[in-house]
Subunit: 205 residues, 2 copies
DNA sequence: GTCTATAAGGTGATAGAC
DNA sequence: GTCTATCACCTTATAGAC
């Protein structure tokens, strides 16, 4: 009777997922304001009122998507282990982020759309969860530097540069492809090699 | 009688500029679809019909803004001199781009909004002007590498990484400030130092 | 659970007075 | 050149039949 929170039947679960998949496609391409329920309904193969049977409002669909995204978005950063080999831990993080940009470009653009516009819906999560995690990992990095296993570097700007260089291949995909012209996804291999070199030279003591 | 192309009087020129300034503020924050003429009119201190006296339509305002932006956007890249000292030329380019992110964050976000959404209005300029310029500078960089003055590096991905790391401080400003908390613009100094080190280590043979 | 019909409000653009 | 008034359309959301 009132789905949206916890779908009961198989059909409800399936439709909820179909809607979120369609909404991801639309929101990531046009932003929140630029997307309409008509577009999402059409992409989901449902009628507009039926859409609103599963979610109470447009903003509820967007919120569900953002919540789901924030769950997974920080995983690669969480995986950095304080007792690993510093340079390799960070290079593995770079590769994981690049892999996410290739596998989940729509999620990356959904996030980018949100931040570029001032993060109106996720500022609490950024100031809370995200900042805490970054602070924690920054201390790990500082520890590595103190031990001499890592070249001295501002940990926050290091993390920013890892985010920006990797997410660039998802968020600015249209520009990247226009400049590299014919190649399909082949440039991801080159990007991986380039970023490995870039950060290896930066981080090796 | 028909401004928008070439304003004749001083008042027309001033109003046109006021409108573009207001439109930059609004479009860069909300994207094209998310912005309304009401918002722009209010920000410009004009009535909506008066706005449409100076520009024939909403899209015309946006186009004027984008055209103006593309004029200046490529300047820092153009300034790279083939007969300069390679590493210093490129590091100066990094600094110029970072300076632009600090001075013109709204322009950067206007551009980012456009690209993230697939560059619907500027794909021709990206495939034309921008690509040509990047190809040209890529050849310059390859020449430097061949001469041994620069470490071997993929010139295209080098340029992408310079764009992404510098523009990040404008486009993802909300996130950067949330994570670095109290500091105002102070982090730009740290960013400049960090990026100088990052690219110096990458590029020095 | 899903549809048609429609309400209610916003939005781009125009007409016409001043 | 600038305003008030207004049109035509689009968009979110709801009501009610089936």
């Amino acid at each position: 009777m009132m789905p949206g929170k916890q779908p009961r039947t198989r059909i409800q679960k399936k439709n909820t997922e179909t809607i979120l998949e369609a909404a991801l496609e639309v929101f990531s391409q046009h932003g929140f304001r630029g997307s309409t329920l008509d577009q999402i309904a059409k992409a989901a193969g449902l009628s507009k009122p039926n859409l609103l049977y599963y979610f109470p409002s447009k903003v509820a669909i967007h919120r569900a998507l953002i919540d789901e995204l924030m769950q997974n978005w920080l995983d690669p950063l969480r995986k950095i282990e304080a007792d690993g080999e510093p340079v390799e831990e960070l290079l593995a993080y770079v590769l994981r982020k690049l892999e996410m940009a290739r596998e989940f470009p729509r999620e990356s653009r959904l996030f980018a759309n949100e931040i570029v516009q001032g993060a109106p819906n996720i500022m609490d999560k950024i100031e809370g969860e995200l900042k805490s995690l970054v602070d924690e990992k920054a201390r790990v990095i500082e520890g590595w530097i103190a031990s001499g296993a890592l070249a001295p570097v501002n940990p926050y700007h290091l993390i920013f540069s890892i985010w920006s260089t990797t997410q660039h291949y998802a968020d600015f995909d249209a520009q990247v492809r226009a400049i590299l012209q014919p190649e399909g996804d082949a440039h991801f291999e080159d990007a991986a090699a380039y970023l490995d070199t870039l950060f290896r030279r930066m981080l090796t003591p």
